[in-house]
């Protein structure tokens, strides 16, 4: 078990380096001088040159990269051009909000997804299957910012059940979590359904029926756990799409999270901020993958015994 964990972690390291390198290169081939863009009007050329020097932008690319990685390893993602603050600190300030949003959204997504998936699997190819899958897929089918906006309009603005924006109370968290969660529910529902349908073909399901379990008992007691195991690995994939969706949801609801930082980075062409945000998010996803993998190992007795 331990050796597997270590091996799994070892595999993640080149991925991590690759991610940082990819982002680094992509952001360096941006046309235009970042400093000029950053400073805007009223600027003296001498100032531009001075700032470029201070930011180390005049050094060769590989030196810049090594420095960046060395600093990043110490948890320093550099200083934001625009905000003149430590990027790590900015990210860590925004991080809890995004985590809260993602976890809540994940809960919503899993609730909608699994319920819809189970119903759809039981009622395979019948009306309820279509209705529930359709409902779950609706969330994926609208641009997430429109879903957010419509929810906001109906439940916050018209019905006044929740505040329009913010993220400082549980009421304020409800709508963003639903908007984001619904967006991910479709794929969970789809996977739950197809896994369940597949698991239900297994011999042990027949055994369960033969011992006198009724259909609901068979599904909940025997099929679900098996069907959910692969869905666990999907958590990692979900994390990725959820963080993508968070970029949009946070903007609509004014949640001060990491997604907003990425947008800030793009809008203000703040390369260190964008770079730090993407690298940090990606690390989160790699970690999420790792955890999902390990969790899978723990949950599935067949693999767990390997140690």
């Amino acid at each position: 078990m331990l050796s597997r964990i270590l091996k799994r972690i070892a595999i993640s390291i080149p991925v991590l380096v690759g991610v940082v390198l990819a982002i680094f290169i992509m952001l360096r081939i941006v046309p235009g001088d970042p400093v000029t863009t950053m400073l805007g009007e009223h600027v003296n050329p001498a100032v531009i040159e001075k700032i470029s020097r201070e930011m180390g932008l005049d050094q060769p690319l590989h030196i810049q990269f090594i420095k960046y990685v060395a600093n990043a390893l110490q948890g320093d993602f550099g200083t934001s051009y625009r905000l003149n603050r430590n990027v790590t600190q900015i990210i860590l300030d925004a991080f809890p909000n995004t985590v809260k949003l993602s976890l809540l959204a994940a809960a919503v997504a899993w609730l909608i997804g699994i319920v819809a998936g189970i119903v759809a699997a039981i009622q395979q190819n019948k009306l309820l299957d279509r209705l529930f899958m359709g409902g779950a897929l609706m969330g994926v089918s609208m641009p997430v910012f429109m879903t957010a906006l419509v929810l906001q309009y109906v439940f916050a603005f018209k019905l006044k059940w929740f505040p329009v924006s913010g993220f400082d109370s549980w009421q304020a968290m409800v709508l963003p979590a639903i908007a984001l969660g619904w967006n991910s529910a479709g794929s969970i529902a789809r996977m739950t359904r197809s896994n369940l349908v597949e698991v239900m073909q297994n011999d042990f399901i027949r055994t369960a029926r033969a011992k006198g379990l009724r259909e609901n008992g068979v599904i909940v007691g025997h099929a679900l756990k098996n069907a959910m195991l692969p869905v666990v690995t999907m958590m990692a994939l979900q994390l990725s799409s959820m963080l993508s969706g968070a970029v949009l949801t946070e903007s609509v609801f004014g949640v001060p999270g990491i997604g907003r930082l990425a947008v800030n980075g793009i809008e203000t062409r703040d390369m260190p901020l964008l770079q730090g945000t993407v690298v940090f998010t990606t690390i989160l996803i790699i970690l999420g993958n790792l955890i999902a993998d390990l969790l899978y190992n723990v949950l599935d007795p067949r693999i767990r015994e390997g140690a």
């Binding site: 690759g18 990819a22 609208m142 641009p143 789809r190 990725s240 993508s244 949009l248």
Partner: protein, 328 residues
């Protein structure tokens, strides 16, 4: 215990391969003394492996998927014949007629520059469908070739390609697309490039795992033993067997490409005016959500219909073609 576990995973892999390969042997196999399970027996008796049969099954048990396919076809036709279908020129402005409510003259009203919304949606179908189809095709082609190579050659090739895929998969796709757009600037062409670059890794993984099991199959061994060239084996013998999964994957990847365009447009780094991409129309129309809601609702609904249609079709195809494809 370790051995047992290894065998177990191997069995799993084989089980999947059996299903994927679509190599039903029909009644013959039963003569070999393998006791069919009830469902299997039914399947064997009722279905065989031709595409026509599968499509028939689809039509019989999943009307929704068929309806979706028809919708998609209709959308494609509308897109192709947009100039004939659209009541107005989608770029023709008429400032005095701006922001009109839906009427007999303008079924979906007019936008902020007095352009006919229906005509823009019809022309927008061209852009949005192209954005859905083209980058998906490109990225899946990349993924298929890389996945085939990785699975077939194994070793270092496999290691490098799959680590590369790991890197790609580690990025949240929207963020990655954002970075690409940040680097290259907005615009349709760049969206094509960004989306093509971003989404190949998933395909590569699936194709690789199928190639891995397929290359152990008898028919591949046989081909190899009579000296068929590697590329021929890969593209003539292995690729066709991956096709069902690829078709399903293709159908399910299209909606996400369409939605990515909308998201990028929302962030201001997507399609640029005056192009009539649905995403951009939603984003532009969103500002009039309270006074002229149809401006954003109409293109949203268009997106929703197409995305749902592709999703339903994909799910339906998966049910009949490829019950083992679960990576989505």
């Amino acid at each position: 215990m370790t051995d047992e576990k290894a065998r177990l995973t191997e069995e799993n892999a084989k089980g999947k391969a059996d299903g994927n390969a679509g190599t039903y042997t029909g009644e013959r196999e039963t003569a070999k003394g393998r006791q069919p399970q009830p469902e299997e027996a039914g399947a064997q008796l009722g279905e065989s492996d031709t595409w026509t049969d599968k499509m028939q099954t689809l039509m019989r048990q999943n009307k929704l998927a068929v309806f979706s396919a028809v919708m998609i076809l209709l959308m494609i036709l509308v897109a192709v014949f947009a100039p004939l279908v659209a009541p107005y020129d989608h770029l023709a402005q008429s400032l005095p007629d701006r922001l009109q409510d839906p009427s007999a003259a303008h079924w979906l009203g007019t936008d902020e520059l007095g352009r006919d919304v229906l005509s823009r949606i019809i022309f927008g179908a061209r852009i949005s469908l192209t954005i859905g189809l083209l980058p998906t095709l490109i990225s899946m082609s990349i993924g298929t070739v890389l996945g085939l190579c990785a699975g077939f050659y194994g070793g270092k090739t496999d290691f490098i390609i799959m680590r590369l895929a790991d890197v790609m998969l580690a990025f949240p796709s929207l963020l990655l697309a954002m970075v690409v757009m940040y680097t290259m600037g907005g615009g349709l062409i760049n969206i094509f490039i960004a989306l093509s670059l971003v989404n190949w890794a998933g395909t590569a993984r699936i194709v690789r795992s199928q190639t891995l099991s397929l290359k152990e199959k008898e028919f591949v061994e046989a081909a190899r033993s009579i000296g068929v060239k590697k590329w021929t084996i890969m593209f003539r013998h292995i690729l066709p067997n991956c096709l069902p999964s690829l078709i399903v994957l293709f159908t399910l990847n299209i909606p996400s490409a369409i939605l990515s365009e909308a998201s990028l447009s929302f962030l201001g780094i997507g399609a640029q005016p005056p192009s009539a991409s649905w995403g951009l129309m939603v984003v532009r129309g969103k500002k009039y959500l309270f006074s002229e809601p149809w401006l954003s609702i109409a293109p949203s609904v268009a997106i929703m219909i197409v995305v749902l249609a592709f999703n339903f079709l994909g799910d339906g195809l998966r049910d009949v073609l490829d019950p083992y494809l679960k990576e989505q």
